[in-house]
């Protein structure tokens, strides 16, 4: 034994505090992330959700690439494409992998084209939900009193508003809304309603803990305390509500389109709608090869984010973890 002191206990080897701090800060975040990721990956449902989201992500990315290469505009454009070589609607075949609908649109092309708007709606809705619910919930819980009463009454009002029906009315009235705007509208309704109520109750728990008082005694302003001590404890729950909001928003969007209020972008709801409408007017019966892909896509897309939310829920509430 040349070296009687194990390296880990030899403090003369310790790096200077500044270096260690910087290294350790980022590695602390990284370790936290790895720990959380490990918990997430113990849940098979969550793994399924992550895989599904990855597949949809690939679909969204591959669409412009495929359009530029193999899916030429003349035959495959989801709006204007028409293939004169086949009789529409055509069943799945070598030229059109998922067939065409009665107006000659390529089903695969439409399916892929609708993926990106779905992500846009989901992203807009989830971010809006997270920001609004965190702001309202934390403000209400931290300041209490009149502010709390006021915000809770607003949240109650939004809670009673049925989001899908409201979205149908909005979609009917404003037919030129893009995916981002629709996502924002949904995010406001979902965020200011149920999500705010839950975020507020979580924030109430955090605000009552003595380390908040300790920060106040240190001289910390309300903004400092909320930013440094309250918000980090809200993140897992905010992430959970973001996922639920994606599901809600995408389903609502499909819902509007299914009622025939189509807008200037393609989505799966429109495809489902058209599989019924044109086929019945042309007397060809329900086009199953047009109906099934978007139905599956919509369900799986919504389910994927819900599956991930199940895992995040376990992360936010450790009591739900299976030992």
């Amino acid at each position: 034994m040349n070296n009687p002191i194990p390296e880990a206990f030899d403090i003369s080897q310790a790096p200077s505090t500044r270096e260690e701090k910087r290294g350790s800060r980022s590695s602390a975040v990284w370790h936290q992330f790895k720990r959380d990721w490990r918990v997430l990956m113990t849940n098979p449902v969550t793994i399924l959700g992550v895989v599904l989201i990855a597949i949809f992500g690939l679909m969204a990315i591959s669409y412009p690439l495929l359009r530029a290469t193999v899916l030429g505009a003349a035959f495959y454009d989801p709006i204007t494409g028409f293939d004169f070589a086949v009789l529409h609607p055509s069943p799945p075949g070598p030229g059109h992998l998922l067939g065409t609908d009665s107006l000659g649109h390529d089903v695969l092309s439409m399916l892929l084209a609708a993926t990106q708007p779905a992500f846009l709606i989901g992203l807009a809705a989830s971010l809006t939900t997270a920001v609004i619910s965190t702001l309202m919930g934390v403000t209400a819980a931290y300041f209490g009193g009149f502010v709390d009463n006021f915000l809770v009454h607003i949240a109650d009002a939004f809670l009673l508003l049925p989001a899908p029906i409201f979205m149908v009315i909005v979609g009917m009235r404003f037919q030129d809304l893009g995916p981002v705007q629709l996502g924002l509208i949904y995010g406001v309704i979902a965020g200011a309603g149920s999500a705010t109520i839950v975020m507020r109750s979580q924030a109430l728990l955090v605000v009552a803990r003595p380390f908040i008082e300790a920060a106040r005694i240190a001289g910390g302003s309300s903004w400092h305390i909320i930013r440094v001590h309250v918000l980090p404890h809200m993140l897992p729950l905010a992430a959970l509500y973001m996922m639920l909001s994606v599901t809600g928003a995408v389903v609502s969007d499909g819902f509007i389109s299914f009622f025939g209020f189509s807008r200037n972008y393609l989505n799966w709801g429109t495809m489902i709608y058209s599989s019924f409408v044109y086929s019945s007017s042309l007397g060809t019966g329900t086009e199953w090869h047009v109906l099934l892909p978007p139905s599956l896509a919509l369900s799986l897309f919504a389910a994927a984010f819900y599956f991930v939310s199940r895992g995040l829920h376990q992360l936010a509430d450790p009591r739900l973890r299976t030992r």
Binding site: I11, E20, E213, A214, I217, A218, G219
Partner: protein, 333 residues
């Protein structure tokens, strides 16, 4: 500060805190919990006061009032400023409040809850310096490291960037002590800092607190329900009952010669580690009641073995000096 030894560091006059019961949105509360009612005491420079009483008597509320976590309903809290003058901080707000925060700190009861679990030990201890804008990052780190070593967390480098859950209860409370001392306060309110700790490490933490307070010239209010702890830690002891202070004296005087019937009952309830000594038990009746809109007579009347018609028909007795700074609030002693 040579010319202000005669002045107390902290002086409390007529301090009151009433919590409304039941009120709400656009609705005035009808009744109030008299959590702290008309307190009066001084703490000298470098001195210590033990605040003793049963659960719910207003000890913690008093501590939180002194560090201004609560806004007093009424009364004054004077504290010496840096020029040695007494300043009333009872209703301070804003920027001058932040300066006051440098002078007064608090140590909490539960070391598991008083440290933010998502912040490193360095973040927690340095927080007062950061929010007060004291020093550069390098200076803060040196100061935190030095203080961590001083509170017994050595080597500091191995503790600074750990998280609270990696520390034991005693280590956490040492971190809490370091956080309270990092900005050189003149006064600390310690709210039962050892009651959540394992018995075997209590004395260590108590000794550390006393040593550091002596070294750094910090006065402290030590809140506890344990007379033995108060005796160990404090020069003087004050006894509270239902929001009122009933007796205040130097530690030895109070324990040797308790005058108020409540203090006597408290002392008689402390177990004596010698089976041959038999002590006369003082009986008090009933249990402690909630101090919601209490009648204006002596708070202790309902349980007092000495109470009579005079007590029933007169207001709560004032604190009276029975000689040598031994104050008692009772008509019958």
């Amino acid at each position: 500060m040579s010319n202000n030894n005669d002045k107390p560091l902290l002086r409390v006059q007529g301090l009151k805190k009433y919590f409304p019961v039941g009120g709400g949105f656009l609705r005035q509360a009808r009744s109030f919990i008299h959590a702290v009612d008309d307190l009066e005491f001084d703490i000298p420079m470098g001195g210590s006061l033990g605040l003793v009483g049963e659960s719910g008597c207003g000890k913690t509320t008093t501590g939180k009032l002194l560090v201004r976590l609560h806004e007093p309903t009424d009364g004054q809290i004077f504290i010496q400023n840096e020029q040695g003058e007494l300043e009333d901080i009872a209703h301070r707000k804003g920027e001058s409040m932040k300066t006051f925060r440098r002078r007064v700190q608090m140590i909490f009861q539960d070391p598991y809850e008083s440290l933010n679990p998502r912040r490193t030990i360095y973040d927690t201890v340095a927080e007062p310096l950061v929010v007060q804008g004291i020093g550069t990052i390098v200076e803060r780190e040196e100061r935190v490291a030095a203080l961590l070593e001083r509170v017994g967390l050595t080597p500091a480098t191995s503790f600074m960037f750990r998280f609270p859950h990696e520390l034991s209860g005693g280590q956490r409370q040492r971190v809490a002590i370091a956080r309270a001392l990092i900005i050189d306060p003149v006064f600390i309110a310690a709210d039962e800092p050892t009651s959540m700790l394992d018995v075997s490490i209590r004395t260590g933490v108590m000794n550390l607190m006393m040593e550091l307070a002596g070294e750094m010239g910090v006065s402290y209010l030590y809140i506890t329900h344990d007379l033995a702890v108060a005796r160990y830690m404090c020069e003087r002891i004050a006894v509270m009952y239902l929001g009122k202070m009933v007796e205040r004296a130097s530690t030895e005087e109070l324990l040797a010669n308790p005058l108020h019937p409540y203090t006597r009952a408290l002392i008689s309830a402390v177990p004596v580690p010698d089976p041959r000594i038999s002590r006369q038990a003082i009986d008090i009746k009933g249990g402690v009641s909630a101090p919601i809109d209490p009648p204006p007579i002596c708070r202790f009347f309902a349980r007092c073995p000495l109470g009579d018609d005079f007590c029933e028909n007169n207001p709560h007795p004032p604190m009276e000096d029975k000689g040598g700074g031994h104050y008692v609030a009772c008509y019958k002693v």
